[in-house]
């Protein structure tokens, strides 16, 4: 229901190409200039007109949401990659660090998310739907090795890291990383209370 696959009408090649290039430009500008980057700047960086951008993303917030979903996907998919390349326990730790990095880049979005804009209403669910299974599989694989505690709910862990990342000012990310390290080493003591 999301992307039309029916043979009725295929999306035109140039349209698809422009959608990709706009997403890439938006992602980069959001990262460097913050979520307040201008629609005009994004269109210019993508090398398209604003009309083209608006055809695919009728509201500015649609573009923000699309970039967000893309980045959630990228981070979630890395769980499988890490699981394939590392021992379960290590993969878990590596992904949690990766996730912490992801959260750190979402400072600007946090306020937008709670802004009541209906365009963002679905994002929290998307966030959970993608991340919870990803962490779940890492966590259960790690638990199976016996070296990691088994009594931790994936969603609690996701939230805990999110809350630890709510720091007001500079030097905060260092603090966050120390606390997350603590959390990870806590995980490594199987079943201690």
């Amino acid at each position: 229901m999301s992307t039309e696959n029916e043979p009725d009408r295929r999306i035109r090649a140039d349209a698809q190409r422009n959608e990709d290039v706009v997403l890439a430009a938006a992602k980069e500008l959001f990262a460097t200039m913050g979520v307040d980057a201008t629609v005009r700047d994004i269109a210019a960086k993508a090398g398209v007109g604003v009309g083209t951008l608006y055809r695919r993303f009728p509201k500015r917030s649609d573009l923000v949401a699309a970039v967000f979903r893309h980045e959630v996907d990228a981070c979630a998919e890395e769980a499988a990659t890490l699981a394939a390349l590392h021992p379960a326990e290590e993969a878990l730790a590596l992904w949690l660090k990766r996730y912490t990095g992801f959260i750190a880049t979402k400072k600007g979005l946090a306020s937008a998310l709670h802004s009541g804009d209906p365009a963002y209403a679905a994002l929290p669910d998307y966030f959970r739907a993608r991340f919870e299974p990803a962490l779940e599989s890492l966590l259960s694989a790690a638990s199976a090795t016996g070296k990691v505690r088994t009594d931790v709910e994936p969603y609690d862990l996701l939230r805990a890291i999110g809350n630890l990342s709510v720091t007001s000012d500079a030097e905060g990310t260092a603090h966050t990383h120390r606390m997350v390290d603590l959390l990870i080493s806590g995980l490594r003591q199987p079943q201690a209370s």
Copy 2:
């Protein structure tokens, strides 16, 4: 250093009057329409031109900050009033409820506060400077009656209520009030762990 008192030049009477009326209009519009209320709307409601408004508040955010400080003052001053009218233990409980109500109206501001706008940078300190002594005196008076625990830091309590108030959606304020009630009754058990 904040408001000129020196006899050099007194502020003109009409200017003072307009400042008051603008603040009142802004306070009401922020309450009813949210912090996104328009500068034009505020000026219109106050019955002044935008130029007049900008003379006193050079940035929109200055106006937001001024209203915020006014409301912090009002809430903080109520601590003394309640202390004069009620037994210490009761005054504490009443003020904490009042404070919870204050926090509830600051949803829209929360995102602005963390937005990095330098106009808001001083607000957290102002918040703490006004509220911490207010709660401190209520708390120590209540502790003196022996009916309230003595091992609670005022700032921790302020923050705890603030965090409890971070609810995502509807039905949230009911939940917040239940949790704050719990907190208050917890305070009433002297020195239990």
